[in-house]
């Protein structure tokens, strides 16, 4: 994909004429707090029809304004001229249009707008709660596998129903919700294991290019697969686990076993990174996970992703920075925010300056 133009009105604090982007590197520079990340946020918006920073859409509207608009013109694998439009009202109405036609379900956007964001919040992938890593796997899964989202939704629905059944006294039907949970849960675990395997495979070449000296292992951590005896099926094992916890589950009114409690393991040099990693290792592995996402999504969609790098270089060592810059060789469009003018000597680099929300291109000498 290549993003050609961004038009926005009343999106956060941004004020700008339509911005035309370089097909290569776009540097967004400016002081902290002036709105650099807002530019990336507007570009990222159409990946899933929402912001990467907040789930409350009204926060995206400029103070005291009634509605915001974002328009992105892009060249994608589907068409060489696609227009993505979003309008969000403070009152809550939200409309996303693709080429002038309203998109009723945002899941239709998934995979249509391939971009990968690297940013400071990625540290949560390696340092945060298991939920962060599950979200990562589910995100990568739904980008690359059309059935993933449906499986995930079905599992969440069954989980909510089973939790409700555990709380209310409809014990006579608990059995069928348990069976449904096992069926949908096994589908989800199987798909997640596939995603982790793909991530692991795609990480290898990046580990080599970055000349990382210690071994890094990723795996899927599930009570269901890890402790499974060889002679029982996933279904039987899941059932046995649930049966063992049923008393606790009824007492606490919630499902205690299942993929909604799983995690991705990250082992660096023999140590569990989630607990014992250094800041540097955590940052590096977070970048590696994003790079693996990038290669995997590109392989599946057969289309180069747009790279969004949010204030990344101040915290990474030079080798990683060089490797990321090298991604340009693969003909990707890149957007980079930085508080200082970066030296990025690639032909066709376009610099944008952000000053109190005002964004404009800097004329090249």
């Amino acid at each position: 994909m290549r993003i050609d133009r961004l038009t926005s009105s009343d999106f956060r604090n941004l004020i700008h004429e339509p911005l035309s982007f370089s097909p290569g590197v776009n540097l967004v520079v400016g002081e902290n707090g002036h709105g650099k990340t807002n530019v990336l946020e507007a570009i990222y918006f159409f990946k899933f029809g929402r912001s990467f920073r907040t789930s409350r859409d009204s926060e995206l509207i400029r103070f005291e304004e009634p509605l915001l608009r974002i328009v992105i013109e892009a060249e994608t694998r589907v068409d060489d001229r696609e227009a993505f439009e979003a309008a969000i009202e403070r009152k809550g109405a939200k409309r996303i249009k693709l080429n002038g036609k309203e998109v009723p379900k945002y899941s239709e956007l998934v995979g249509r707008y391939p971009c990968v964001l690297f940013g400071p919040h990625d540290l949560a992938l390696t340092s945060g709660q298991p939920a962060e890593r599950r979200r990562f796997l589910d995100m990568v899964g739904s980008l690359t596998d059309p059935g993933y989202l449906a499986v995930l939704r079905a599992y969440r629905r069954v989980l909510a129903q089973r939790n409700a059944a555990l709380k209310t006294d409809t014990a006579s039907a608990l059995g069928v919700w348990t069976e449904e949970l096992i069926e949908q849960g096994c589908h989800l675990v199987r798909r997640r294991v596939d995603v982790v395997e793909a991530i692991r495979k795609h990480m290898i070449s990046h580990i080599e290019k970055l000349q990382v000296r210690y071994p890094i292992r990723v795996g899927y951590e599930s009570e269901l697969t890890n402790s499974q005896p060889a002679d029982v099926t996933h279904q039987e094992h899941f059932a046995a686990r649930l049966a063992g916890r049923e008393f606790d589950e009824i007492r606490r009114g919630t499902t205690l076993v299942g993929p909604h409690r799983d995690d991705m393991t990250l082992v660096v040099d023999g140590h569990d990174l989630r607990r014992y990693g250094s800041q540097g290792q955590r940052r590096l592995v977070a970048v590696l996970l994003r790079l693996a996402e990038l290669s995997y999504v590109e392989e599946q969609l057969r289309e180069p992703c747009v790279l969004l790098l949010d204030d990344l270089f101040s915290e990474l060592d030079e080798r990683v920075v060089d490797h990321l810059k090298g991604a340009l060789d693969d003909n990707r469009q890149i957007f980079v925010t930085s508080p200082v003018d970066l030296s990025w000597d690639a032909a066709g680099t376009q610099i944008f300056r952000v000053n109190h929300g005002q964004v404009g291109p800097v004329p090249q000498p």
Partner: protein, 199 residues
């Protein structure tokens, strides 16, 4: 809004509560009635009044009827060894319109959904087992919707009937007739591949 009449305003509000009717349509309906001949409106009123009094549910299957038992349950030409379980009377009507199914029905009036506080005892299931046993029914076709709730309800019925030894089947799911692959959604297509048939 000011209509000059509280009766008219409340009629509009009542119409607007109905499924598929928005505020504008409700207004149009109410104003239309106001212009209709008295006789017509009277007849409509009477039919609506009679609806709850005369229309009820069949004591065997739960389908719609004005008698104790519905026309399908009392029809001797129907196959009495086959029962199709549906969620709502609406589904019975749809299946009946196909003209393909000659067996009997059983209407659940809902699906299992603990989130909404619906358990087995809230469905028309109390006498179902007994009905299957007493009438020597050989096959039960569960035609609940292919949702998480519909699936769980189907499973519940299958488990409940297990000891009776009758055959319990579920409606097939896959590509709709006449549809091309191009227009099938990913989920349907994936499911159709997963459960493909031998030729």
């Amino acid at each position: 809004m000011e209509y000059g009449s509280e009766t008219l305003a409340s009629l509009i509000r009542l119409f607007a509560k109905m499924p598929g009717i928005g505020f504008k349509t409700a207004q149009r309906l109410a104003l239309h009635l106001l212009r209709c001949e008295d006789k017509e409106v009277e007849k409509l009123g009477q039919v609506i009044l009679g609806l709850k009094q005369t229309v009820g549910f069949c004591k065997s299957c739960g389908g719609i009827t004005e008698l104790e038992e519905c026309a399908i349950c009392t029809n001797p030409a129907r196959n009495r060894e086959m029962v199709c379980v549906v969620e709502e009377p609406r589904d019975l009507i749809i299946l009946e319109n196909t003209g393909q199914y000659k067996g009997l029905y059983h209407v659940l009036h809902g699906v299992l959904s603990p989130v909404d506080g619906v358990g087995p005892e809230d469905l028309n299931l109390r006498h179902f087992e007994e009905r299957v046993r007493a009438n020597n029914i050989k096959e039960v076709i569960v035609a609940t919707n292919p949702t998480v709730e519909g699936d769980a309800t189907a499973l519940y019925i299958a488990r409940a009937l297990e000891p009776l030894g009758c055959s319990v089947t579920r409606l097939a799911r896959g590509l709709p007739m006449g549809a091309t692959l191009e227009f099938a959604d990913d989920v349907t297509l994936a499911r159709a591949i997963e459960r493909r048939e031998e030729l």
